[in-house]
């Protein structure tokens, strides 16, 4: 996330992983004669943790995994902080998920050293699990702002694993207030995440809430770009696509740097009928806009059939761009000649059929390995 750190002049991204809690592995030999006299049976907390660590390691060395896990579980009940300290030094013990889940919720709330503790869990899955288990008991109970301030410091492996629960709950139950809060954060991507959740619960409010992102808000333009994609993916209709494109201004349908991408985002989630309607709508646009929009009709993950593609090609007003589209489509359809040998016949113009034949000849003359 260093790119974000560069962009954002805010405390929110002043991640603080101040103190390493992992003690060095090198063991200093204990000179028994130099130890002060201690009352029998009373160890300090640190010494107790250290002795638990040694006990667990000894069990692991003897292959007694279940016993080791039990010792840790017990430690987790008595001293959740110590538990996580040890966990950082004991990677690879299987089946720790339940203990982590239970124990994380017991940690003291909202303290820097707890943030550091959690962030030092080296196993990615367990770290994400610990964070989300730490936060989820507070969602809907403590103020959103407070939970956010704690969770934003998480060193996540999977983005939003710490705060995902908060965003979901807020988007569903408190969308106006939570968006207003995010708008004060001078941040990027948080609003995008919020809209991802919003589209699941209240898609009909998207356009209205989009307008509430203040002009000139820190990170606002960045987020709005991505939110446009979120909106068309959630509602891939021609009508919504048009509305979203026009969020960029009255000539929003012309923007060569983005329209193709937004069309393909819509197509990636559209039903066959919606795809047809989108293509029809594009066909009503002025030539420059139309030819730029069409770039998005070829869904990259799922190459469209020759028949469908032919309709897309027929919508262009530029033969040059038709040929480019054909080149791109063929790159994603390398086995077309085997799958559908008559595909060339389905191309809409003679010019394109000839172009396709030329390409096929070239491919056959120098087959790629």
């Amino acid at each position: 996330m260093s790119a974000l750190r560069k962009i954002l002049p805010v405390a929110v991204f002043g991640l603080s992983l101040a103190v390493t809690l992992i003690s060095r592995k090198s063991e200093t030999p204990v000179d028994k004669e130099s130890l002060p006299e201690k009352p029998p049976g009373r160890l300090t907390k640190t010494a107790r943790t250290e002795s638990t660590f040694n006990a667990v390691r000894a069990l692991l060395r003897d292959g007694k995994i279940n016993a080791a896990r039990e010792v840790l579980r017990q430690l987790g009940k008595e001293d959740p902080v110590a538990f996580f300290k040890l966990l950082a030094k004991l990677p690879g013990i299987p089946g720790m998920e339940d203990v982590v889940r239970e124990t994380a919720g017991q940690l003291p709330w909202n303290q820097q050293h707890i943030t550091d503790l959690l962030n030092h869990i080296s196993n990615n899955l367990l770290r994400d699990l610990a964070w989300s288990s730490y936060i989820s008991p507070q969602v809907g109970i403590l103020p959103d702002e407070e939970i956010f301030a704690v969770g934003i410091k998480a060193r996540e492996s999977r983005f939003m694993s710490a705060l995902g629960g908060l965003f979901k709950d807020a988007a569903e139950k408190r969308p106006d207030a939570f968006l207003a809060f995010l708008n004060t954060q001078n941040s990027t991507f948080l609003r995008v995440e919020f809209f991802e959740e919003l589209m699941k619960f209240h898609p009909e409010r998207a356009a209205e809430l989009f307008q509430r992102i203040p002009d000139g808000a820190g990170g606002g333009a960045y987020d709005k770009d991505y939110i446009l994609q979120t909106r068309v993916e959630a509602q891939p209709t021609a009508e919504n696509l048009q509305a979203v494109l026009l969020e960029r201004g009255s000539r929003g349908v012309y923007d060569r740097s983005s329209v193709s991408f937004l069309v393909s985002s819509a197509i990636s989630k559209a039903s066959p009928r919606q795809k047809t309607e989108i293509l029809e709508w594009i066909g009503t646009q002025p030539p420059i806009a139309r030819n730029r929009l069409l770039g998005g009709m070829v869904d990259y993950d799922d190459p469209i059939s020759p028949a469908e593609f032919s309709k897309v090609l027929a919508t262009y007003t530029s033969g040059y761009m038709q040929e480019q589209a054909l080149d791109n489509w063929l790159k994603r359809n390398k086995d077309l000649d085997q799958k559908d040998p008559n595909w060339i016949d389905q191309m809409p113009t003679e010019r394109l059929r000839n172009y396709a034949l030329d390409l096929r000849k070239k491919r056959e003359a120098s087959p790629k390995p």
Partner: protein
């Protein structure tokens, strides 16, 4: 490493000089379960694991499998690598060691750096460009940047990492421990001149993480570097104050003049992501080095939701005292913006026609018309009819004709 237990002073008993087994005491049998053996190895009992590794080597197992076991042993005994690697065929050593580093880092990032510190062979392997899981060179430790040992290790002069590897690593470190180490190094005189971005980033990180420590942070800087610190602080303070200002407030001449070129580019990026712009007027009033960089990069502030930026720029040009070269650059970028983002070729051509230098003007005009011919051949063809007779008109007509469907 063995312990010398002297039976009599100065007269060690030979039998006790030999190295003890790793745990130094008799071991119970482990269940015949590889998963358990692995965990035991990580906990410091590696006899079985070492045996397994020898077995795998002898039966020509894949590197991935060997490296997994190797990492488990090295977790508790990093120094073993240099002895073990001698038993591996020479042509496999580097790849195997690199894979082991990767897997060790997956266990804990700290342990990977411990290995680098303890093992000359690990260092050799870490520098090598043998590609392992799409990682070359020092990238093999790319997943270990959160370890507080990162900066310390890579900067340790006795380990002799190259400046390139050092810079590459420091750009990715996380955490305050690493940030402090980077600043220590900078204060000690490394990286003379304009500080690398990771120095500024480290400063900023600590600035925000430890408000109470800010004075100490500043005091620790030697006088020859205080100019740079002033630039960092100017950026940080402006950022903090920006939060308190009304939304959309843009920094002014005085604030911006305190920055260096690198910081100005960060401000531009902030503007773009926020949907605001430093006005041209402001940029022309900045010190010469900032003005130059500001004008060349003015349109990097161009966000998607203010399509009027280019027009506002062009309409303002006459009121500002700009050099020809500055006008040229701004008009070219404005024309491009109009064509690309608005699809408005006519405005683009109008603006490019105002470019002072004829050669540059002709290039931009030709580029826009060519693209128009490709993207809307009919319109280009019609437009060409109204063009003055000449090679450009012929070219555009030709391209447009060919581009018709």
């Amino acid at each position: 490493m063995g312990m010398l237990l002297t039976a009599e002073p100065g007269n060690p008993s030979p039998a006790q000089i030999a190295p003890l087994p790793p745990t130094g005491k008799a071991e119970t049998m482990l269940p015949d379960d590889l998963a358990i053996v692995k965990i035991a190895a990580m906990a410091g009992r590696s006899t079985e694991a070492r045996e397994k590794i020898r077995e795998l080597l002898a039966t020509d197992a894949k590197d991935a499998e060997i490296a997994e076991w190797l990492a488990l042993v090295l977790f508790s005994d990093p120094a073993w690598l240099d002895r073990f690697i001698l038993t591996v065929p020479e042509d496999r050593r580097i790849a195997l060691a690199r894979l082991a580093i990767l897997k060790l880092g997956n266990l804990t990032p700290d342990s990977a750096w411990e290995l680098i510190r303890s093992s000359p062979y690990a260092r050799l392997a870490a520098r090598s460009d043998v590609e392992i899981e799409r990682r070359k060179g020092i990238q093999i430790l790319g997943h270990c940047m959160s370890s507080d040992l990162t900066a310390e290790t890579i900067l340790d002069p006795s380990l002799q990492f190259s400046d390139k590897d050092i810079a590459r690593t420091l750009r990715s470190t996380r955490g305050d421990g690493n940030a402090r180490r980077i600043l220590d190094e900078w204060r000690g005189g490394r990286w003379k001149g304009e500080p690398p971005e990771f120095v500024r980033d480290s400063w900023t990180q600590l600035w925000y993480a430890d408000k109470d420590g800010r004075q100490d942070l500043e005091k620790s800087v030697p006088t020859e570097l205080s100019g740079y610190v002033d630039q960092f602080k100017a950026l940080n303070e402006q950022s903090s104050q920006a939060d308190a200002k009304p939304v959309g407030t843009v920094p002014g001449v005085e604030e911006l003049s305190a920055l260096g070129p690198g910081e100005l580019m960060e401000i531009f990026e902030n503007q773009r992501t926020s949907g605001t712009r430093i006005p041209l007027e402001t940029i022309t009033q900045l010190p010469a080095n900032l003005r130059k960089v500001g004008i060349e990069n003015y349109f990097q502030q161009n966000d998607s939701f203010h399509p009027d930026m280019a027009r506002q720029c062009v309409e303002h040009l006459g009121q500002l005292d700009l050099t020809h070269s500055e006008q040229q650059s701004l008009l070219e970028n404005a024309a491009t913006s109009s064509w690309v983002k608005q699809g408005d070729y006519q405005t683009a051509l109008d603006w490019s026609a105002r470019m002072p230098d004829a050669k540059g003007r002709a290039e931009v005009e030709e580029r826009i018309l060519t693209e128009l011919a490709q993207q809307d051949p009919q319109t280009a063809f019609d437009h060409a009819d109204a063009m003055p007779v000449g090679t450009l008109r012929d070219k555009i007509k030709r391209i447009a004709t060919e581009a018709l469907p």
